[in-house]
């Protein structure tokens, strides 16, 4: 799997869905980009409804928290989400397995 997206389409500090199948969201903290699975393993809420504070992505449904840099579930260890790899060039981002 490989998805290429223009950097200008990813504003800073917003969770953006970039793929529906598999569902993937991307986050630009102003310095780096992070891509993770976009579905909360708890109750299948879309994670783009959540918010990011520091490295922590909080689900907008029931508050489960994930480390957006590696996908680890902080609030409920073991219930991690998939982290995708990222390649960056001047204009584009490539998200891949």
């Amino acid at each position: 799997m490989e998805i290429i997206i223009k950097k200008k389409e990813i504003p800073a500090n917003e969770l953006i869905e970039i793929s529906t199948n598999p569902k993937i969201i991307i986050f630009n903290n102003g310095e780096k980009y992070f891509a993770v699975s976009g579905i909360c393993p708890h109750a299948k809420w879309p994670l783009e409804l959540g918010f990011v504070s520091d490295d922590s992505l909080t689900c907008g449904g029931h508050g489960w928290e994930f480390n957006i840099t590696n996908g680890e579930c902080i609030s409920n260890p073991g219930r991690d989400i998939k982290k995708y790899k990222i390649k960056e060039d001047e204009l584009d981002i490539t998200i891949y397995d």
């Binding site: 109750a43 299948k44 073991g78």
Partner: protein, 441 residues
């Protein structure tokens, strides 16, 4: 169609001359004599509308399934519940003497009359059983989330049902972080974050379901016992008030629903007309309300606490037998729990116990008397309440919700596997859960 809010998650829906009550907790405390509903003055038996045609109960937590209130209803009234994977909740209701308990398959509408149908909606959680309810009549549609943590697909389906009125949970109602041994700064930081996350969840639920009118309910209770007053703090406490949910909705800029703050005993018509019968307990007057309530019920609460009695001299053996049994019978749970617990049964006939649920320990005694520095989880619980739990007279969850205990964790992490084992240690249930869990993770 008229809906009366009766405190916490209790609603009375009257439509086409039929009445259905949901999660009736109206009188007395729950959760081991600690929680009261958010009212300025405690309700009395006269406030219980016993002339109902149907009862729906979402799950077994006592703020939804409260015996003191339920015993006032005729045992002939049909009680509807969600058809859960286990029969434990069904059996608990049966023990109360109700003759007609109907289990509803999640999302399969049940026709009560030609003008009225109800749909039970089960939560998706593998480990804990809960449900929400959708009530449709020719006069309108009402949705009651109770405190069910719903899956997103179900929210979209509730939205498609176009509810006129929705009741939504807005507050934490749990023991974290208050029972844990945190510094004040750390505790306050966690409480603030939890409260914010829950209110944010309220806003998102309302935004996805989009009822015309959304009522903030199933929130934080009041803790009127003199030893627990600090839990009620409206600023530093983890338990919110409905005005905070309304403010968050208004601040979000989202549209399409109007958030309504109702006091217990207020009513709302299907067109949103709000009939105000009482003054609501809000973040601005909560401490005054708790002071008054505390004075009003203190004597009764003290009597109730005293009547709980002492632990028996057999408690140490009971603790060891209970934990040896549930740990040895559930090796798959132990593998996931993987920790040592220091249990202190505090008070007369209590003691200190080590519960070894390390995954490396595969035989021998899992529970013994003693003290260890090597614990991952420490629980200090009044001995007589531990005895009720190991006697299976009291759910561990109910005990934990009472906040009448202290805890510590190393590392500071939630262990859902341990709580799940205590929730219901039935080996068949546990084994079935981990067959699914291990495929998922």
């Amino acid at each position: 169609m008229l809906t009366k809010f009766l405190g916490q998650a209790c609603t009375l829906i009257e439509t086409n001359n039929k009445k259905i009550i949901v999660d009736p907790w109206i009188v007395g405390p729950c959760n081991v004599n600690t929680w009261y509903t958010l009212r300025n003055k405690a309700a009395t038996k006269k406030d219980i509308p016993t002339d109902v045609d149907y009862i729906y109960i979402s799950h077994e937590h006592q703020d939804h399934f409260q015996q003191e209130t339920l015993k006032e209803f005729s045992k002939k009234i049909p009680i509807y519940i969600c058809k859960f994977k286990t029969k434990r909740f069904y059996n608990e209701i049966k023990k109360l003497g109700f003759k007609n308990i109907i289990e509803l398959t999640s999302w399969k509408p049940e026709i009560l009359t030609k003008d009225l149908e109800i749909t039970s909606i089960q939560n998706p959680d593998l480990m804990f059983e809960d449900s929400a309810l959708l009530i449709k009549s020719s006069e309108g549609t009402v949705f009651c989330q109770t405190d069910c943590k719903m899956d997103f697909t179900s929210l979209k389906k509730v939205n498609a049902a176009k509810p006129d009125i929705g009741f939504f949970m807005y507050s934490v109602a749990n023991w974290y972080p208050d029972v844990y041994n945190y510094s004040k700064e750390k505790r306050d930081e966690i409480a603030k974050k939890r409260k914010l996350n829950k209110i944010n969840g309220f806003v998102n639920y309302v935004d996805v379901i989009k009822p015309k009118f959304a009522v903030a309910y199933a929130g934080g209770p009041l803790f009127p016992h003199e030893s627990q007053i600090k839990l009620n703090d409206p600023i530093l406490g983890v338990f919110g008030c409905p005005d905070e949910a309304k403010m968050a909705w208004n601040k979000s800029g989202k549209t399409g629903s109007e958030v309504v703050v109702m006091a217990a005993d207020d009513e709302i018509k299907i067109d949103g007309t709000h009939i105000k019968n009482k003054e609501p307990v809000l973040s601005t007057n909560k401490m005054d309300a708790i002071k008054e309530l505390s004075i009003e019920v203190q004597e009764d609460l003290n009597k109730r606490w005293k009547a709980e009695g002492d632990a028996s001299t057999r408690l140490p053996n009971k603790i060891i037998d209970y934990f040896n049994k549930i740990i040895s019978e559930n090796p798959v749970a132990r593998k996931h729990i993987d920790m040592k617990v220091q249990l202190i049964a505090d008070g007369k006939n209590g003691g200190e116990f080590i519960l070894d649920m390390s995954k490396s320990k595969t035989s021998g005694n899992y529970a013994k008397e003693g003290k260890t520095e090597d614990w991952n989880y420490l629980m200090k619980i009044p001995a007589h309440l531990v005895e009720k739990a190991v006697n299976e007279e009291l759910l561990w969850e109910t005990l934990f919700l009472s906040a009448r205990w202290e805890a510590d964790r190393k590392p500071d992490q939630w262990n859902e596997h341990f709580i799940n084992l205590l929730y219901d240690p039935d080996p068949t249930r546990i084994s079935n859960i981990y067959k699914i869990y291990e495929k998922m993770h």
